[in-house]
């Protein structure tokens, strides 16, 4: 772009960062040098200070986020503290997680120009710089569009363009694909790889979906431990690509790439494959590896709950939202059957009608036609009924009604007029089951995101609804909390509760769903067993999904001529390897930061 700057070398020495009112530092004695043009991955468990390190290098800590700092961060040999205000932003551009809360202007071109205006770039050079940046992300034809009309993936490309226009030599990616559907996430990373192909830009990546970055992108990996200290630092092949390094990462609570996890589960020692392609080649290299995979995988779906009466029966659901001048059919003639204990996942691009279908099932959406029967009761006549359908919203804070965790869980039973003794008994039991017993007296708003989600599930399930509905339960959650959801769902299903989940998380679908309902444009396109969905490329594309990394590896192995199974779940592999989801133990409650502000972590 215009005035591209040479990437500045970064020198971090003895860096300690402590947020106000926190006992433990977020970062402790971190030393790292990042030469110009290097692409480095910052990894670590939740709360280990990955984002804190990235944002400190970007000069936003302590400038914009209040924190106590020790040690030094040098950009181009100059301490970031001594740089003139705004100077760090000319060295470092940041792409954050959520597109909607990092775009500040209504229109695309103004957004890209915003940074240039802020730092006082010459006006005559601006239009060319804006156009060049938009051309680089192929959005030049959307230059005058309202940003709200773009998809989430396109909005993140606008953010990329805005950092490109500044000509910054260092790009910080703070989980930029976390809020996108899988297909858009892959698309965004394809753009990032393309834009950073040359050596002239330093890239600092924080990402939990490591499969997108370990192959052919990042070359170095720095792992932080839960105390914010550097645990491992070296070439990615040494840190994640060896059994010793990967085991250490696993102990630290770092989410491993699928290729590495697969190789470890198959008992590999020494160098491990990084990325889907490498994993496929590694698999076919030795026959006994494929052998073990075939032995582990049944290739069929989870235990089949077919037969038996449905607990939820929805027929011909149509929901139309009318406002002056607008007439929007959000759901068209949708039908669904779910049996007790069954888990059905709704997938589809944003705006495809998933949430509307969930709301129609819980009696929250105005039905133009159709009916919902739960048990043998017709929904919708008397509004929602929490004993028939429990509903957990995407934002777990939305449903909070009480000032303590225990009262929050007791709210539903009390509203139904349960006796005090029964309420107390049930509350104690539910808090125990969802790992919240130690937090009974805490204010719900002070919990971590993962704890809040567990609380909202506990509060919805205590009255034993026949159907539980979860809207995007892993959205905006870190990898560990997302994985813990698998256990939470198992807990719910044990009681025979049918579960309906709307989600973008294809790994979650692969692990827990019996059936997948694919949606687009307010219609149900398909209602198939999850095993069939995960290998149906046309359906995956229509619903904006991609195969989960493990299935991608199997597909590549088959393309190499190997006799690999069509479908495999981590749970099956782990069972075969003698590890289980439960064996990882409960999710640690300590050290999970409360995401009240920017979510340092």
């Amino acid at each position: 772009m215009q005035r591209r700057r040479r990437a500045a070398p970064i020198e971090v020495a003895g860096l300690g960062v402590r947020y106000p009112a926190r006992r433990n530092p977020a970062l402790d004695a971190v030393d790292v040098e990042i030469p110009p043009g290097e692409r480095i991955l910052l990894a670590g468990p939740s709360g280990s200070g990955k984002s804190t390190l990235a944002l400190t290098i970007a000069g936003l800590i302590p400038g914009s986020i209040e924190a106590e700092i020790r040690g030094s961060v040098l950009l181009d040999g100059v301490p970031t503290g001594d740089l003139l205000p705004g100077a760090a932003t000319e060295h470092v551009g940041v792409v954050f997680q959520d597109p909607t809360s990092q775009l500040t202007m209504p229109r695309v071109e103004d957004e890209v120009a915003f940074g240039l205006e802020n730092v006082g770039r010459p006006e005559e050079a601006m239009p060319a710089a804006v156009d060049a940046a938009l051309r680089a992300v192929d959005l030049l034809d959307r230059r005058t569009w309202q940003i709200d009309r773009l998809s989430g993936g396109q909005q993140q490309r606008v953010v990329l363009a805005a950092t490109l226009a500044m000509g910054t030599g260092i790009l910080v990616l703070d989980e930029p694909a976390a809020h996108l559907d899988p297909r858009s996430a892959d698309g965004l990373y394809a753009w990032i790889h393309e834009l950073c192909r040359g050596r002239e830009r330093t890239v600092i990546t924080v990402e939990h979906a490591l499969d997108r970055v370990v192959a052919g992108f990042v070359e170095r990996c720095l792992v932080l431990d839960a105390e914010g200290r550097v645990a491992l630092d070296g070439p990615i092949g040494d840190v994640l690509g060896t059994s010793a390094g990967a085991r250490r990462c696993e102990q630290l609570g770092v989410w491993l790439p699928a290729s590495v996890r697969l190789a470890l589960l198959l008992g590999a020692e020494g160098p491990l494959p990084l990325g889907v392609g490498a994993a496929a080649e590694w698999l076919v290299a030795e026959p006994q590896r494929l052998e073990r995979i075939r032995a582990a995988g049944s290739g069929v779906g989870a235990p089949d709950a077919s037969g038996g009466p449905s607990v939820l029966e929805a027929r011909g659901l149509t929901v139309r939202y009318r406002s002056p001048g607008q007439d929007h059919v959000a759901l068209r003639d949708a039908g669904l059957d779910v049996r007790p204990g069954e888990l059905v996942a709704l997938v589809g691009p944003n705006g495809s009608g998933k949430s509307t279908l969930l709301r129609a099932v819980s009696g929250l959406a105005p039905l133009e036609s159709g009916r919902v029967i739960v048990g043998s009761v017709a929904m919708g006549r008397n509004g929602p009924d929490p004993e028939l359908v429990g509903h957990v919203f995407q934002n777990p804070e939305a449903g909070i009604l009480a000032d303590t965790v225990a009262d929050e869980v007791a709210y539903g039973p009390r509203a139904l007029g349960w006796e005090d003794a029964r309420v107390d008994r049930s509350v104690a039991d539910v808090l125990e089951r969802f790992g919240l017993a130690g937090l009974a007296g805490a204010n719900p708003f002070t919990l971590s995101q993962g704890q809040k989600r567990r609380l909202s599930i506990a509060a919805a399930t205590i009255v034993r609804p026949q159907v539980l509905v979860l809207d995007e339960p892993t959205y905006g959650q870190d990898a560990r909390s997302a994985a813990a959801l698998v256990d939470e769902i198992a807990t719910i299903r044990r009681d025979g509760t049918a579960v309906l989940i709307a989600t973008h998380d294809v790994e979650l679908v692969a692990e827990v769903a019996d059936r997948v309902v694919g949606m687009a444009g307010g219609r149900i396109l398909a209602d198939v067993p999850s095993g069939a969905f995960l290998v149906d490329d046309r359906l995956l594309e229509l619903t904006a999904q991609v195969r989960p990394p493990l299935q991608q590896i199997l597909a590549e192995a088959r393309a190499l001529g190997a006799d690999a199974p069509g479908l495999l779940r981590w749970a099956e592999l782990e069972r075969a390897a003698g590890v289980s989801w439960q064996a990882e133990g409960p999710v640690p409650l300590e050290g999970e930061p409360s995401h009240t502000a920017v979510g340092p972590g």
Partner: protein
């Protein structure tokens, strides 16, 4: 056709291309003139002018503007009725209808009509302004022409972007509460409690988002303290000057003609007839 009051319609028009600061000036001038008028005929002329200007200069169809003003038409009717019944002393006025303690008077109705029309006229100019003004241009103009601090102006613009999201979040929270089996509370204390339960999650969410937006803005050098340059310079040209002159001149002309025909009554410094 999506008619929402006070929202920007993206039609390109002569009015759309005028400098927002000048449009604010024209609007203020017309509002000031309208507040002086106290008869029911003159403001009617202003309303007609607003509709004509919207149609001819702003590409705003007459029906669309009329629909956008629905709330003000209804308010107007209630103003006329209430003033007819309560505004004046029935002993010194013309009673057209009486029932028990109620006396509808011609004088009251006239005052009500005048009030209603002035309100509608000012609202019509306001709606024209918002429909024909790009929010980004408005902020640029506030900074460039009216010397508003960029820190404030651009923060307002960023906040403006997430108002619709806040509305959706409010709806979701209400739904979530309904779903938990929350009954509608009774009495003022119950109402207050309900508001607290809705507002706490709404505000914690909003604060978190605000923090994120502020961080993103800082990461692009917002508040770097350097002299801001501008991607688009908004200037005041002859046509803008023409708009201002036409608004002030036209307004005064309407008052003058109205006075010549003897219908104009100006505010004399006291409320009521």
């Amino acid at each position: 056709m999506n008619v929402r009051i006070f929202s920007f319609a993206e039609a390109n028009s002569w009015l759309r291309r005028r400098n927002p600061a000048v449009k604010i000036g024209a609007h203020l001038a017309l509002t000031l003139l309208l507040t002086l008028v106290f008869d029911p005929i003159t403001p009617l002329v202003f309303i007609c002018v607003a509709f004509l200007a919207g149609r001819l200069l702003g590409s705003v169809p007459i029906r669309q503007l009329a629909v956008a003003l629905t709330v003000f038409w209804l308010l107007g009717v209630s103003l006329v009725l209430s003033n007819a019944l309560f505004a004046s002393d029935p002993r010194s006025t013309t009673v057209i209808w009486a029932w028990g303690p109620f006396n509808a008077t011609v004088e009251g109705a006239t005052i009500g009509l005048s009030l209603a029309e002035r309100m509608a006229a000012i609202a019509a100019f306001s709606v024209l302004f918002t429909m024909s003004t790009d929010p980004t241009d408005l902020v640029r103009s506030l900074v460039q022409q009216l010397r508003m601090a960029p820190r404030l102006a651009y923060t307002i613009l960023a906040a403006y972007r997430f108002l619709p999201g806040l509305g959706r979040e409010y709806e979701t929270i209400r739904m979530a509460h309904q779903l938990r089996g929350r009954r509608r509370p009774r009495g003022p204390a119950g109402w207050l409690e309900e508001q607290r339960r809705v507002l706490v999650p709404l505000f914690t969410g909003a604060v978190r988002r605000t923090d994120r937006v502020a961080l993103a803005m800082d990461s692009r050098g917002f508040g770097s303290g350097r002299t801001r340059t501008h991607y688009r310079r908004l200037r005041v040209d002859r046509q803008d000057a023409a708009l201002l002159v036409a608004a002030i001149g036209g307004g005064i002309l309407i008052l003058a003609v109205s006075a010549a025909f003897g219908v104009l009554r100006l505010w004399t410094g006291v409320l009521g007839a």
